[in-house]
């Protein structure tokens, strides 16, 4: 039986302990903040530290793909342990990660890898990575894994409730949300992220109400196969949201995830969100 190993970029937000348990290799994206580069590896820069500093930064941080050299090295190291690699990358039209993975893999493991575009960010991708790792551990083939993920993708949904529009304004991406134009500036958009696109579902005036919309959405999509609570340094409300959703939570641990800087730089701090997979 061929040995398969799964690698993914850190934008998929699979928590470190889960990655360790399922033998998933996370290739860190690079965060450039205040003129300095950090790897999004939880060591050089923790997510907590990122969001604590975010509101006060004179310029919004930027993120980029892991340098080709580092990527190549990480892929090579993993290739030594496996017959075949599954590489899962953030959407190609959003980021250079997919292309970096492609270039690195072609050099290091030509013909011994399967590169998959997750079509999603944060745990929308993360669930696919976990699924792939679980299947790989159980001995599934690369083709079977790729097919399963393709079938799973339409059942993956990511929702967000933004606590501020400030970051979208500063990054020039306010067009992501159909923010109600005009004088009412206190708008908390509830959005859906699909294929890297952001679509407004609702614009409400208080964050409490935005959070309540997330609850409604989870109930609307139940029964669920997987559920993760997303946040940007808003652990308390994330736990509250998890408890509120106990009735629709699938068996197993519900992950609470402080989302990656690539997304968080636009979303801003104190946001909440959900990633879910509906029952198939």
């Amino acid at each position: 039986m061929a040995i398969l190993k799964v690698l993914a970029d850190s934008v998929c937000d699979v928590p470190a302990e889960v990655a360790k348990r399922l033998d998933i290799t996370l290739i860190p994206a690079v965060v450039v903040m205040d003129g300095q580069s950090y790897l999004d590896d939880g060591v050089q820069l923790t997510r907590e530290a990122f969001y604590t500093r975010l509101p006060d930064l004179p310029q919004l941080p930027t993120t980029s793909a892991c340098p080709l050299g580092v990527t190549r090295e990480m892929i090579a190291r993993k290739a030594a342990e496996a017959d075949h690699l599954i590489l899962i990358a953030a959407p190609a039209h959003l980021s250079a990660i997919y292309n970096t993975f492609h270039l690195a893999a072609e050099e290091v493991v030509p013909g011994r890898y399967t590169l998959i575009d997750s079509g999603q960010v944060t745990m929308g991708a993360g669930f696919q990575v976990i699924q792939a790792a679980e299947m790989a551990a159980a001995g599934a083939s690369a083709a079977k894994i790729a097919l399963t993920l393709a079938r799973m993708r339409p059942r993956v949904h990511v929702f967000g409730a933004l606590n501020t529009l400030e970051n979208l304004r500063r990054s020039g991406r306010v067009g992501w949300v159909t923010a109600i134009a005009g004088r009412l500036l206190q708008i908390k958009p509830v959005v859906q992220l699909t294929e890297g696109n952001v679509k407004s579902l609702d614009n409400v005036r208080t964050f409490k109400r935005a959070a309540a919309r997330l609850v409604e959405l989870a109930r609307q999509y139940a029964p669920l196969e997987r559920l993760a609570i997303l946040h940007t340094n808003n652990q308390a409300m994330a736990e509250e949201l998890r408890d509120t959703l106990a009735d629709v939570t699938p068996p197993g641990d519900t992950l609470i995830v402080n989302v990656n800087p690539a997304l968080g730089t636009h979303v801003g701090a104190a946001a909440l969100g959900l990633a879910l997979v509906t029952a198939g």
Partner: protein, 565 residues
């Protein structure tokens, strides 16, 4: 219940000296409050200043008896009446003078006056007042106040002979009638005031009661009211809307003057005509006209004309309201309506508020609100005007819901739902639901879904209002003096203060910090943007659990409208 004991000896009758003191007290009390009466006069009847006109009338009347040492009530009252008629000024002054004239006629032969004599005198005063007023007499004015006071007097004296008790009842009645005047006279309601002439008369009666009770005639009320900012009308009338701009007053002296004929001729020239006479030789004429020459030319043909006063009321009106220069505003946003869409028609006072409704997708705005309720016709017109067949009406005021429903009944060819928003914050909350529904292709045409959601959204916000108390009140456990700034939450007074910013602190302090997170302040036409921003900054640091948003509302009368959610 404890038995009521009179605080002073019962007063069963008055002689001329006592009546003189009573009249002086009535005048003095009016003098201390005439500015409040003036302020009631701001809109929409800019007929000079009611307070000062009534006061000048009273002063002229009292000047006639000031030097007199007259024990005879009848003689005193007649002299007082003569002074009042000669010195009467303005609509309310003229009518006031006629009340005193009737008073004098009724008491002509009386050496002293008792409670029932007072009642009869008031009755006669009412008759004279109605005779002199423009026909048909307008209710909801000083006429209604004097009539109901006189009726109350008749009822009281059947069982009560104490003049103090009588005046107590009269003052209560006057105030009750006064508070009802906006219901009787729509223009008062539109302006958000009670009748000024009625208020002037009430002050005179209150002064008389204070004299009878031996109470002080000092008061700090007038100062408080003078310090209060003037209330601005919602809408500045054009010269055409305003109508007859000139107020003409003159005294005609001649022989065998036919008062009824003169009155008919003057009435034909304009409006607010008042023609009174002191016998056949002197006629006092007051009329509002386009051409001030007309009544004067007419009068000189009949006799000698004197004391001519011509005032341009439209100019006074513009001065009074401090007519703002129409500011350059960007055009209102328009909503893109598909044939199957649901349109929203909203009522809002003030350009800023209207803009917010437009920004959220309202198709038509009908101007109006707290002080100017739009008619069924105006709402119906907006409804007919929208190019779609499904619509929602947001009345944004409890007093407009019925008119909106009537408009719906008229609009037979359209499917319309009234979402009963009682105030602007509720309306904006409902509007957000509408804007959200429009984000979804499958919902934007669903009238039932939108109407239900908008109605549910009304409860999303707690509304607050901050304005000036037009009269002293004690309501909901809060005492507010006239002229103070008052804060209301969900229609209940929760705070009163002399200082607007302090009031805002008090009001915000009443909010449950755990229940709400956002306070939106819509500042009115009387608040400078700078001041609103500064206030919000101070509030934000004092109450850091709330987010404050400041938005220009442009509404009249209300310094701030608050939306708390």
């Amino acid at each position: 219940m404890t038995e009521q004991t009179p605080t002073q000896d019962a007063c069963l009758k008055l002689d001329g000296h006592q009546l003189k003191q009573l009249l002086l007290a009535g005048m003095s009390w009016l003098e201390r409050h005439y500015q409040i009466v003036n302020q009631l006069n701001v809109f929409p009847v800019p007929d000079g200043d009611t307070g000062i006109n009534m006061l000048l009338t009273m002063q002229s009347a009292f000047a006639e008896i000031a030097e007199l040492d007259e024990p005879h009530v009848g003689s005193l009252a007649r002299r007082f009446a003569k002074g009042a008629v000669n010195g009467s000024r303005g609509n309310s002054g003229v009518i006031l003078s006629q009340i005193w004239r009737g008073f004098g006629v009724a008491l002509r032969e009386s050496e002293t006056v008792d409670a029932s004599g007072m009642a009869s005198a008031l009755q006669m005063g009412t008759t004279f007042a109605y005779d002199a007023a423009p026909k048909p007499p307008r209710e909801g004015t000083i006429l209604t106040v004097v009539r109901e006071v006189a009726e109350r007097a008749q009822a009281v004296v059947r069982e009560e002979s104490d003049i103090v008790r009588l005046f107590e009842a009269l003052v209560v009645q006057a105030n009750e009638t006064l508070q009802r005047t906006p219901e009787l006279l729509p223009i008062l309601k539109e302006a958000g005031v009670i009748d000024s002439g009625g208020q002037g008369l009430t002050y005179i009666l209150e002064g008389m009661l204070r004299q009878l009770r031996g109470e002080s005639l000092e008061s700090d009320l007038a100062r408080a009211a003078a310090a209060a900012p003037a209330r601005k009308p919602a809408h500045v009338m054009s010269a055409t809307e305003f109508g007859h701009p000139y107020d003409v007053q003159l005294l005609l002296t001649g022989e065998k003057l036919d008062v009824d004929r003169i009155r008919a001729a003057i009435q034909a020239m304009g409006d607010s005509a008042i023609v009174t006479s002191d016998g056949e030789t002197t006629v006092k004429i007051h009329v509002h006209v386009y051409d001030p020459g007309q009544p004067i030319s007419y009068a000189v043909k009949l006799g000698v004309v004197s004391d001519v006063v011509v005032e341009n009321m439209y100019e006074q009106y513009l001065d009074n309201i401090g007519a703002p220069q129409p500011a350059e505003a960007p055009p209102m946003p328009t909503v893109d309506l598909q044939p199957d869409d649901v349109a929203v028609i909203a009522v809002a006072p003030g350009d800023g508020l209207a803009r917010i409704f437009y920004e959220q997708g309202a198709a038509r705005l009908v101007s109006g609100g707290q002080t100017m309720n739009p008619s069924t016709e105006e709402i119906y017109k907006a409804l007919s005007d929208v190019p779609v067949s499904k619509a929602i009406i947001l009345p944004n005021n409890g007093n407009i819901i019925l008119a909106a429903q009537q408009a719906v009944r008229k609009a037979r060819n359209k499917e319309v739902v009234v979402v009963p928003s009682k105030n602007v914050p509720q309306g904006i909350a409902a509007m957000l639901f509408y804007a959200n529904a429009r984000l979804h292709e499958d919902r934007r045409g669903d009238l039932a879904y939108i109407a239900e959601g908008m109605t549910a959204a009304l409860d999303d916000v707690v509304s607050g209002e901050v304005t000036v108390a037009v009269r002293s009140v004690e309501m909901d456990g809060v005492r507010a003096r006239a002229g103070q700034v008052i804060g209301l939450l969900e229609g209940k007074i929760v705070a009163a203060h002399d200082d607007l910013n302090q009031l805002m602190h008090d009001l915000i302090g009443k909010l449950d910090r755990n229940a709400y997170e956002l306070v939106t302040l819509y500042y009115g036409a009387d608040v400078k943007p700078k001041d609103a921003e500064a206030l919000a900054e101070v509030l934000a640091s004092a109450y850091d659990s709330f987010t404050f948003e400041v938005i220009p509302g442009g509404q009249p009368h209300y310094f701030y409208l608050l939306s708390i959610e």
